[in-house]
């Protein structure tokens, strides 16, 4: 047990006698970090991130949840609060001001290797930093004395600086307003050598780091900046093997090949993190180059000003994705992209051969499609049908056709063949089949298929009512949707586009948007199912499961909206992530 009052005289003596390095102007932290570091994280505005972590709507939502309140009622939380309050009294500040005082000048964290980490924090309040250091030193001494042990703190000098260590996994030094904290004494000494101008190269002179800073210069007001020495990370055999392995799954390759290609090329990666008006944005870029027009992955890189189209808007939209993918070029390169013909690929080709009988899949099917592909996922409604117990969202893909009059009929025929095959297979399993209908909506005649609910008994095997697959043509667009309600919403949306065409996002090949409130809504609609699943997946009681699912729904709703753009800038791959708070 600590006895704070009895420690005060000793603390005062320690403060007076503590040897703190003589004052001098601190160089940038990157001047003290070896250029061999794998990752460097510079938190330039710690206060901004602390404010976001504590005050954001997401944080507020979590703090107001019953689960958070329950956690606060636990004895451990009370102990933690007492500890924080104790330090607040001792340091004569509240914890938020304390963090600002201790890190206000910025914090830099560098990972040099496994278990080799160094943190450099620039305090805004040097007296506070010294007081904290002295207090912790006295606590350690007192705790050891109470156990009849020697003073655990080792003190030594290196490169003219007093160094301290409480144990083998910690070493630190105070230099003016700067705290250097390392995971080993040798790392601390390495940093101090760099400070003194001895030894190896420093990060601030590293070509990659400087290029990364330059690439992020338009965001130099960002709250945090991260540099990853990708070339060094790739020395790890596991990482190298993962990158060289390639992507066997064609669908994954279609979506992720550009990113995998960038990862293989990159020597460094830079990311900036910013917070504005409670909205968080992160921009990541690398030194990789966008591929040449004849490269294998060029199918995903639009020529400016082309790019992925703006996402489609529909009611109850959970997520929308827009891609620029030249399917014809992708499939024409399949032998090089997938030299090993997997069973999945063979099955796909067999099926396509049946559905598109007598046509060359590459030229006469995929070649009929523009590279603009859009997907929508939306919560569905069941105005006329039976609502299933497990409510799945509807999903749809919208293609743009080059010759809509001709190809829409080809697609319709293939779709009906596929439906026939589904019905035949289900019939073999004595399962109900789909009935085909040709309704009209907003002047558009489309084809839908549905399961009749006549004779369906009440029970839980009603998941099939989540599906009402449709195919529809709107102008030069082809809609393939899992539900009728989403088909009608997309018809509305595409009709609106006919008067105001969707704009391409120049140099962007992927555009993903997620709506947290709507995601929360569908989670809530399936709350009972999720609770039941949680109980058998995690072994929770019903009350525990309800708590976890409620918390999940709260968090998802509070996330607001997320938007990811993937493309290139100045011929380098770039990913932008934006999180906007819930309104």
């Amino acid at each position: 047990m600590f006895r704070p009052l009895s420690l005060l005289p000793a603390a005062m003596v320690f403060v007076l006698t503590a040897s703190i390095a003589c004052a001098q102007t601190a160089a940038p932290a990157a001047d003290w970090i070896p250029d061999t570091a794998l990752i460097v994280l510079e938190v330039r505005q710690p206060q901004t991130l602390v404010d976001y972590a504590v005050d954001s709507s997401l944080s507020q939502a979590m703090q107001s949840s019953p689960q958070w309140q329950q956690a606060k009622a636990q004895p451990n939380y009370a102990k933690f609060q007492q500890g924080v309050a104790f330090f607040e009294r001792l340091l004569e500040t509240d914890w938020r001001a304390g963090i600002t005082g201790l890190t206000g000048g910025g914090v830099t964290l560098a990972v040099l290797g496994e278990d080799q980490v160094v943190m450099i924090a620039d305090a805004a309040d040097v007296r506070l930093l010294n007081r904290l250091h002295n207090t912790l030193s006295i606590f350690a001494q007192t705790a050891a004395a109470n156990k009849g042990q020697a003073d655990p703190m080792r003190t030594w000098q290196h490169a003219g600086i007093n160094c301290y260590s409480f144990n083998a996994t910690e070493a630190h030094a105070l230099i003016d307003n700067r705290l250097v904290l390392a995971s080993r004494a040798a790392i601390l000494e390495r940093v101090l050598d760099l400070r003194a101008g001895h030894g190896e190269g420093v990060m601030s002179s590293s070509v990659g780091y400087r290029a990364a800073l330059q690439a992020s210069s338009s965001h130099d007001q960002a709250a945090a900046f991260t540099y990853v020495n990708v070339a060094a990370v790739k020395q790890n055999p596991t990482v190298a093997a993962g990158l060289n392995q390639g992507i066997d799954n064609p669908l994954a390759a279609l979506l992720l090949a550009p990113l995998a290609d960038a990862a293989r090329q990159a020597k460094w990666l830079a990311a900036t993190l910013d917070v504005r008006d409670q909205a968080l944005s992160m921009i990541t870029t690398t030194d990789a180059h966008t591929p040449a027009a004849n490269a294998l992955t060029s199918f995903a890189y639009p020529s400016s000003p082309d790019g992925a189209l703006a996402n489609l808007n529909t009611p109850r939209r959970l997520a929308a994705m827009s891609f620029y993918r030249d399917l014809h070029a992708f499939y024409a390169a399949k032998d090089e992209l997938f030299p090993q013909r997997t069973s999945g690929l063979i099955f796909f080709e067999n099926m396509m051969g049946i559905f598109f009988t007598g046509r060359d899949l590459t030229d006469e099917v995929l070649g009929e499609l523009e590279p603009h592909i859009r997907l929508v996922v939306a919560e569905q409604t069941w105005p006329n049908g039976r609502a299933p117990q497990v409510k799945l969202p509807g999903f749809a893909v919208v293609f743009q056709m080059k010759n809509p009059d001709r190809f829409s009929l080809v697609a319709e025929e293939a779709w009906q063949k596929a439906l026939g095959m589904v019905n035949f297979t289900r019939g073999q399993q004595a399962l109900p089949g789909l009935l085909i209908d040709r309704p009209t909506y907003a002047g558009i005649k489309y084809t839908s298929a549905y399961f009749s609910d006549a004779g369906a008994t009440s029970g839980s095997d009603d998941t099939r009512f989540n599906l009402r697959p449709c195919i529809a043509r709107v102008g030069d667009h082809l809609i393939l949707s899992s539900t009728e309600s989403l088909t009608c919403d997309l018809i509305d949306s595409l009709k609106r586009e006919s008067s105001s065409p969707a704009k391409a996002q120049p140099s962007r090949h992927s555009l993903i948007e997620v709506d947290g409130a709507q995601l929360g809504s569908i989670l809530n609609a399936n709350r009972d199912t999720l609770i039941r699943k949680n109980m058998i997946e995690k072994g929770n009681t019903q009350a525990q499961a309800e708590g976890e699912i409620n918390m999940l729904i709260t968090i998802v709703r509070a996330i607001g909206s997320a938007r990811v753009e993937v493309g290139s800038r100045d011929n380098h791959p770039q990913i932008t992530l934006q999180l906007a708070p819930a309104k």
Partner: protein, 436 residues
């Protein structure tokens, strides 16, 4: 099998059936103690918690068996009501249904009914992957549970017309023009008098009795025009099966193997059970007779059944009063050969020593290790209660000091209070713990 000695001693004379099936009355030579209580709970509740064992020792055998056979309805009914709803909602997935059944075994206040449901499921041996849907399988399990301690006749009558049984026995279409002899033979062999007690003509007649029954879209339907009216009905078939005393004998032998011992009994010992069963086939009185008997508390039964993987895992979880994720548990038990919804053969699962071989012993050790691991699929949820962190307590709870002194002392010497999970794992890997 290791030599374990029951305190009640070898007081049953196998060739004295009357004494064997007489009610056990504790006395100075055959006292009612922790070993007796734990033995009773292993056979009727997978395993007992420490509180249950202590309560049993205070209450004695009569009151404890009363409580196990007739658990308080005010606990059982709400539990079943809530669990039935959960199971019904999860029945669109076989894997989830399996997980819910395992959870029911772990948490039910009426574990004997679950043990008997498992007994009947082992007997009917319907595979979920043949039944086709979770809803059909759920209906079949509900039928078994409802009649688990009831009467065999009504259960059999309902079962032969259950869609899961019809589909599971390859009998979804019993046409007049083509009676399903395979279905009939399976009924007579497994659920009726058994091999040697029926003829080809009996099979043909039974198959004709079942004509007209179809499993269509997950429901059983009787189509009159497809029924051979001259052959009698399915109820006639069941009456015919039950009228044969050999049916009662086969059922009595199965019950003996399930509740008493893996070792087949002499005919004289089975005879009183047959008498109790025949002709009414009331299950509960027979189960009660077996559980209350001198035989049940004798060396003949004590640790003379090899635990199935389900009994091993569920018993450990119940002993430690834990609740673990049952989806991964279902998968791990399947890997050990005990997919609880898919019996491997028409004769159900292997039993007795056939559960144990070099590979399965390692598998049993693995599943226990996994259940007790601080991380992994079971999320470290199984542990000894904080107020019970004592090595001697662990031995008493799990093996009731059935270990040789040297083994017990070695375990205790290595046991550290902070590493009791390791001790539990070591105990659960012992030969003694593999025996119920």
């Amino acid at each position: 099998m290791p030599a374990t000695t029951h305190p009640a001693g070898d007081f049953v004379v196998m060739d004295n059936p009357r004494h064997a099936w007489a009610a056990y009355e504790p006395d100075r030579d055959h006292p009612w103690d922790l070993k007796c209580a734990a033995h009773l709970y292993r056979r009727t509740a997978f395993a007992g918690t420490w509180l249950q064992l202590q309560q049993a020792m205070r209450d004695g055998p009569h009151q404890t068996i009363d409580r196990l056979i007739n658990p308080p309805r005010e606990q059982v009914d709400p539990f079943n009501q809530q669990h039935d709803l959960m199971e019904a909602a999860a029945a669109n997935s076989i894997e989830q249904l399996r997980a819910w059944w395992l959870r029911r075994m772990i948490t039910t206040p009426d574990p004997l009914t679950e043990i008997m449901t498992l007994f009947w499921h082992n007997r009917f041996a319907v595979r979920a992957d043949r039944a086709g849907s979770g809803r059909v399988m759920l209906g079949y399990l509900r039928l078994l549970r409802a009649q688990a301690m009831g009467q065999y006749g009504p259960m059999l009558s309902a079962a032969v017309r259950d869609p899961a049984v019809l589909k599971g026995y390859d009998a979804e279409a019993n046409r007049k023009a083509k009676p399903n002899n395979h279905f009939a033979r399976r009924l007579l062999r497994r659920l009726g008098p058994g091999d040697g007690h029926y003829t080809k003509a009996d099979v043909a007649a039974a198959a004709r009795s079942m004509t007209g029954w179809f499993a269509l879209r997950g429901n059983a339907r009787f189509i009159e025009r497809e029924h051979d009216a001259a052959a009698g009905s399915s109820d006639d078939l069941v009456r015919h099966m039950l009228a044969d005393r050999a049916t009662a004998e086969q059922l009595a032998r199965d019950l003996y193997r399930w509740l008493i011992s893996d070792v087949d009994p002499p005919a004289t010992l089975i005879e009183p059970l047959i008498e109790a069963l025949y002709p009414g086939y009331h299950i509960k009185p027979v189960v009660e007779m077996m559980l209350r008997s001198n035989l049940f508390f004798s060396d003949v039964a004590y640790r003379h059944r090899v635990k199935s993987p389900v009994e091993l895992a569920v018993g450990l979880i119940r002993s430690l009063e834990g609740l673990v994720p049952t989806e991964p548990l279902g998968r791990d038990l399947t890997a050990l050969g005990h997919d609880v919804l898919n019996p491997p053969t028409a004769a159900g699962w292997p039993h007795g020593p056939r559960w144990i071989n070099t590979i399965s012993l390692l598998g049993r050790a693995d599943i226990v290790g996994s259940l007790l691991a601080a991380k992994g699929p079971y999320e470290g949820k199984l542990d000894i209660a904080p107020d019970r962190r004592d090595a001697t307590f662990v031995l008493n709870l799990l093996v009731q000091n059935d270990l040789p002194d040297a083994a017990a002392n070695a375990l205790l010497a290595d046991a550290a209070p902070d590493h009791l999970r390791q001790l539990i794992h070591a105990v659960c890997c012992l030969p003694e713990y593999q025996l119920a």
